[in-house]
Subunit: 339 residues, 2 copies
């Protein structure tokens, strides 16, 4: 099958996905019979660029000038139509207030019978049910593996490998930037310097609030609760505390005592519904969480079928997030082949 892809966003993630897709083209053709063409790229700077004959991915990666003379469109709807898109890859940045404009753009795609793969948590947290229902009614797929723990398989694991499972609770370390900052402080850095270093590495945003105030972690908790526990939860209902107010001396003392601070995410069922928290905690040296350092992450699920199952992702690279989106794309083509 031959599919046209439209990339909404062409920053670090978009470029990594393009690089990976180009490199894996022979394998996609050989193992899955998939041919693809990049027919749309939209960015803040270049606007809504589409060319249904195909945009050369290598040139776009080298940029600038790749879009000289290309058609530009006023909005997502005309852009997707001009690109004759079969699948939209949504890779814009996180908005923790409403998941916009990503959410609206994804609705536009799904309503037009275009499959959507996203690495953006916002739309999942603010519009999962709407998106899911739209996808179902238009007989297309919505996939979002890379929204939590990069490309490590979490959503696909439950969707495909763990039928009949009911998650009773989960806990994890899901914001790697906070974890890295704590690690830098343990080694002598100040909070300010550690944040600057995370920014220099491209981990933290210019405004580090999403990480150090626990927003990113809370959004991931919400995504897991909504999708895997099947229960709507408002972001504001998650008890949230970040690492901003931790004292550097306390962080170092905790590490020396063998009980390092970690920004822990938790959710569990109660009689009143699901209770969820994000906050720094000292973890015991014997806890598997104590060994999760740097940009690694972990999530532990307690379920009715498996008493305990943990997934640990070690030191992801930009490729890891891109790989999660490629897996989503392959899974969509499998669904298409079946229907």
């Amino acid at each position: 099958m031959r599919l046209n892809l439209a990339f909404l966003g062409f920053g670090n993630v978009g470029r990594s996905v393009a690089r990976l897709m180009i490199d894996q083209s022979p394998a996609l053709r050989r193992d899955y019979g998939i041919e693809w063409a990049l027919t749309g790229i939209a960015t803040r700077r270049s606007g809504w660029v589409a060319d249904a004959r195909g945009i050369d991915g290598e040139s776009a990666l080298v940029g600038p000038g790749w879009n000289a003379g290309a058609e530009k469109h006023p909005d997502a709807a005309t852009w997707l139509a001009a690109a004759k898109a079969d699948v939209m890859f949504e890779m814009s940045s996180l908005d923790t207030s409403a998941g916009e404009p990503a959410l609206s753009n994804m609705c536009v795609a799904l309503e037009r019978g275009i499959h959507v793969v996203t690495a953006n948590k916002g739309p999942i947290v603010f519009g999962y049910q709407k998106l899911r229902d739209l996808a179902a009614s238009h007989n297309v797929s919505l996939r979002f593996e890379s929204t939590v723990m990069d490309g490590a398989p979490i959503f696909s694991l439950f969707r495909q490998s763990l039928p009949l499972v009911r998650i009773e609770r989960f806990e994890g370390i899901l914001n790697s930037t906070s974890n890295m900052i704590i690690g830098e402080i343990e080694q002598g850095s100040t909070m300010v310097d550690a944040i600057a270093r995370a920014q220099a590495l491209g981990l933290a945003e210019t405004d580090p609030a999403a990480d150090v105030d626990g927003f990113d972690a809370a959004v991931k908790v919400a995504a897991l609760v909504i999708v895997l526990m099947g229960t709507p939860i408002e972001l504001a209902k998650i008890e949230r505390q970040g690492i901003r107010d931790l004292n550097a001396a306390d962080i170092r003392a905790a590490r020396s005592a063998g009980t390092p601070y970690k920004l822990l995410c938790r959710a569990w069922r109660t009689e009143e519904g699901i209770h969820a928290t994000v906050g720094p905690e000292k973890v015991d040296a014997s806890s598997p969480f104590a060994q999760v350092n740097g940009t690694s992450s972990i999530v532990h699920f307690s379920t009715n079928m498996l008493p305990g199952l943990s997934i640990v992702e070690h030191e992801p690279t930009p490729l890891t997030t891109a790989y999660g989106m490629l897996v989503d794309f392959i899974d969509i083509t499998r669904s298409m082949a079946r229907s």
Copy 2:
């Protein structure tokens, strides 16, 4: 769809599967449209018992007397025919010399167009390629999730959630009996008493060699190498050392020093093919392996796409293995619905 199931083996695993299937019948009907009947049970004591009208699972669980007056058959082929079996659940005990008679019985089933779910590592290690080819040529499925780490999703994870991945190496703690015995010795037990306790808990066999000499671990390593790394490996080629010759004082001293002994399984690619080892090692306190105690297990994969991915299964119960087989069964019905 309505499916007849034949159980080859009705010991701890077989009974747990029957219990779970009965309990999950309403959910299977509601969520997957699956109706099932138990139409064959074969055990060493009762012989090849079949009744295509259905055997009452609850009575069989209560036993004895469930098979009074039931038809008995001379071998697997006539038994499967009399049971009009659609799926055979193979749950006999491990034979580390040739995987028999399980391997032959599974061939008999597959050749007759009967799907096979097994919890038995032997046939996978000694006959994977033959079984896989037989299944393909008869258009049926072979599933074996519960052969490694009980019901934790390992094989299905790679089959369904990790396309295009090439495993470069893996390491893990895969024999929970050895791990539990080491833990007992750390707490003051002797090797002999610890083995006796593992036997009393139903973890170790009457002949504990499979566990304490590392055979069980080596068979699991072989299964992962053969299936997930796509490379045949002979059991005899795996460097194997068990925990039998470890000294209790050394075990306790290592734990006190924060570097406990673990029976580690490893496999990695070399220019001459895959090298695989099983043996006791002292692990660093900062290793995630140091925190895997009791009957828990862990496997860590290094791959071309995800730098590191670990799966940890915590304190499995008999239900865990049964759940793995139920997942395999549901997955088979999904394939049937598609074909």
